[in-house]
Assembly symmetry: D2
C-alpha cells in the first residue's frame, strides 16, 4: 500500500444499497487491489453540513477557516486538506447534484477563498474525477458543471476524469461504465503521482486491455455479489 | 387586486439584505402596483426542508403525497399546489443554485411523480420565471438548468422568463436588470391569465416603453431606499 | 387540416436515414394524422447557411433584416417568420448541437435583435419544443442550452417540450421516447392554438392514455418500416 | 525560446479587431515574453472546415484519419497532433460557441475515435485551457461544456484553466481578466512541462504577485495600443 497517496471519495447517497453505494465500494476495492492505496470515503448525507451563508458577499475577508458555521465541516475541512485527489460520486437528481452535495461544495468556498486572503487557494493543484449515476439522463449536465466548479477552485482534471451510468439496470452490467470508473480512479491517481513527483512520465492514461478489463470486471462482480448478500 | 392569480416567489437567500432580498421586495411591489396582484413569497432558507431521499429509485410508487419526510414541505406543497406561477430568485453559488434551493426542487419530485401514479403531474401547466443574481458569472448555467428541470415537471416557460445580474454593484443601478425583472413577472402573469382563460390574446410580451421603464425604475429605487433605511 | 397552424420542424442531420430522419418523418406523420396540420420541415445540412459575423458587436444597429450575408437564410427567415412554432430535432454531438444548427441559431439573432431596432423581437411569442437523439449521453446538456437560447429570443416553451433518446438502439423501440415526441408536438400545437385564440383552455397537456399510446406507436412503426424499405 | 513546447491557440472570430483578436495577440505576446515559447495560432473562421458527417454512427470504424472530408482539417489535424496544449478563445454566441468552432471540435472526433480503432485517443494527455469573451453573460455555460468535451477526448485540464470577460468594455480594462488569461497560459504550459518530464514539481500555479500583475498588464496595454493603431 502506498500510504503517501490520499484519495477522498465524496459520495452523496441517501440509499447506501443503490448504485452510488456500489460505485463507492467498487472504487475502494479498486484502490486496494489495483492502485494499492487506501481510499478514504465520506457520504455527505451522513454528516451535518449546513448551507453556506454567503458571507463572502458581505466582505471577501469574512470567508476564512474555520468557517463561521460550527458543524461537521470543521472536521471535513481537515480531511479535504490532507487529500491529494477527490472522486465525486453523485446521483443525478434533476440534471444536477442533490442539495447535500451542493451544500458540501458551497462550503468548500472557504478553502478556495484563501486565494484572496493568503494569495493561494488551499485546494490548488489537487486532482478530481467525477462519476454520475441515475435512472435517467442528465449525467453530462451534472459533470460539466462540477468540472467548471472544481477547476475554478484551482483543481486539476486529469484525462478521462468522467464516468456515468443512466439506466435502471444495475451498473455492474454496464461494462463500459465499470471500465470508465476504474479509469477515473487510475487517472486521478496517476495525476496525483505526477504532481507529487512520484512518477515522471505517464505512458498511457486510459487502459482498455484484456487484463485490465478482466481484473476490474471481476472486482465489480464480487463487490456486487457482496452487496446483494448484505441486502438479502 | 386580482385575487385569482396566485404567484409564488421562491427565493433562496441567507442574506435578506442582499441582492436577492432586493429583487424579492421589488417583485412584491411590482405585483401590487403594476400587475395588481398579491405575491406570496417564501425564502427556502427560512424553512426546514430536508433533502430528498430518492425513494423513487426504490419504487416509483413510493414517491407520493405526503412525502415520507415530515417537515415544512408538508405545508409548502399546499402553497405550491395553490400557485399558478412561480418566480425563482436565486443567488449564483458556483454556477449553480445553493443547496437549500436544490433540496426544495428535489422535494417537488413528489408532485411531478404523480404522472406515474395518477397519470398527471400535479404542477402541469403552471408557469415559471427565473432570476439569478451574483457577484460573478454563472447566471446562464444556473438558469438553463432550472428551465430544463421545471419544463420536465410539466411547467410552462413564457417568453422572456429570465433575468440576471452578475456584478458587485447594487442591482438597482442595473437598469437592464430592473426592466428584465419587471418583464419576467409580467410574462409569467400574462401566461397565467392566458392559461386560466382570463385573457384570450397577448398583444406584446416584453415592455420597454418609456412609461413602463419610468414606473418600474421608480418602484425599484423606492424599494432600494427602503432597504437602505432598514439596514441603517 | 388546420392550415392556420404553422409548425416548422428544424432538423440537423447529415444522415437522413438515421435517428434524426426517423424523428422528422414521424413528426410529419403525427402532424397529419393526430394534430391535423401540415408540418414544414427543413434540415439545416441541406442549405447554405454561413456563420454569423457578429456585426451586433460592432453596432447593435448593424444587425437588421436582411442580414448582411446573402445566402439561404434570406429565404429561411421568411419561413421562420411565418411559423407559429418550432420543433428542433438535433443529434447530440459532444453534449451540444452540431455546428450547422448553431450557425442557423446564431443567424436568427437578426430576428431577435429587432427588439433593439423596432422595440420587439420578431420571434416573440412563438413556441418551441426540443428533441435530441444520440448514441450516448448529453441530451440534457443540449436541451437546457437550447431552451435558454430560445427563451432569450422571446419564445414560449410549453409544458413537456423535451424528448430525448440516448442509445444505439433504433428509437422506434424506445416507447417512452416515441410518446414524448408525440407530446412535444402536441404541447407545441396546443400552446400555438392558445396564443392564437383558437382555444381558450387546455384540459391536460401530456397524454399517456392507451388510445394515444396505441395510435402514436402504430404511426411510429409504420414510419420505421417505410424507412427500412427505403434503405433496402 | 523553448521550442519543445507546442501550444496551439484556437480562436473563433469573424471580427479580428474585436475582443477575441485582442486576447489572441495578448497570448502570443505572453508566450514570447513570459513563457518563452512560440505560440501557433489558428482562427477557425479563416479555414474551410466542413461540418462533421457523423459517420461514427454508421460504423465506429468509419471514423479514421484522414477523415472522409477533404478540406483544411487535413492540414489542421497535423497541427493539432504536433501540439502539446490548446488554448481555446471563443466569443460567447448565445451561451455557446459559434458554429465554426463547433464544426472544428466535431471534426476532432476522428482523433478521439482512435481509442476504438487503435486503443488510444490521439489527443490523450494533451492539455487545454478555455477563454470566453462576450458583451453579455454565458461564459460559464460555454466553458463548462468545452471542459467536458475536451476531457472526454482524454485531455488534461490544469488548475485555473478558465478566463472570461462578459462586458462591452474593452477587455484590457478588466484587470482580473488580463491576469486570468496569463494564468490560463501559465497553467497550460506548466502542465505540458510536467507531462513531458521537463519539470518535476510545480510550487504554485496561479500567480497574482505584483511583479506578475505589472508585467502582464504592461504587455496587455501594449498589445491593445498596437491594435488601436492598426484600426486607426
Amino acid at each position: 500500500m502506498d500510504n503517501d497517496i490520499n484519495i477522498l471519495l465524496v459520495s452523496a447517497s441517501p440509499r447506501r444499497y443503490g448504485a452510488v453505494g456500489f460505485v463507492e465500494k467498487f472504487i475502494i476495492e479498486l484502490g486496494k487491489e489495483v492502485e494499492k492505496i487506501n481510499i478514504n470515503a465520506i457520504n455527505v448525507y451522513e454528516y451535518n453540513i449546513q448551507p453556506c451563508l454567503g458571507c463572502v458577499s458581505d466582505d471577501i475577508k469574512f470567508c476564512v477557516l474555520p468557517c463561521i458555521i460550527d458543524d461537521d465541516m470543521r472536521n471535513l475541512y481537515n480531511i479535504v486538506l490532507k487529500s491529494d485527489g477527490f472522486i465525486f460520486v453523485t446521483p443525478i437528481y434533476w440534471y444536477n447534484v442533490p442539495g447535500p452535495l451542493k451544500n458540501f461544495i458551497d462550503r468548500l468556498t472557504v478553502l478556495e477563498n484563501a486565494i484572496f486572503i493568503e494569495g493561494r487557494s488551499k485546494v490548488e493543484g489537487k486532482v478530481a474525477g467525477f462519476i454520475a449515476v441515475g435512472n435517467d439522463t442528465g449525467a453530462l449536465a451534472v459533470i460539466q458543471n462540477l468540472m467548471a466548479i472544481m477547476n475554478s477552485f484551482g483543481i486539476t482534471i486529469p484525462p478521462w476524469a468522467l464516468a456515468y451510468h443512466e439506466s435502471e439496470e444495475d451498473p455492474v452490467y454496464n461494462e463500459k461504465f465499470v471500465l470508465d470508473i476504474a479509469n477515473v480512479l487510475r487517472c486521478v491517481v496517476l495525476m496525483v503521482k505526477l504532481l507529487k513527483g512520484k512518477i515522471y512520465h505517464v505512458e498511457y492514461w486510459y487502459r482498455a486491455d484484456t487484463d485490465y478489463i478482466s481484473t476490474t470486471m471481476k472486482i465489480a462482480r464480487r463487490v456486487y455479489d457482496m452487496l446483494l448478500d448484505e441486502i438479502n
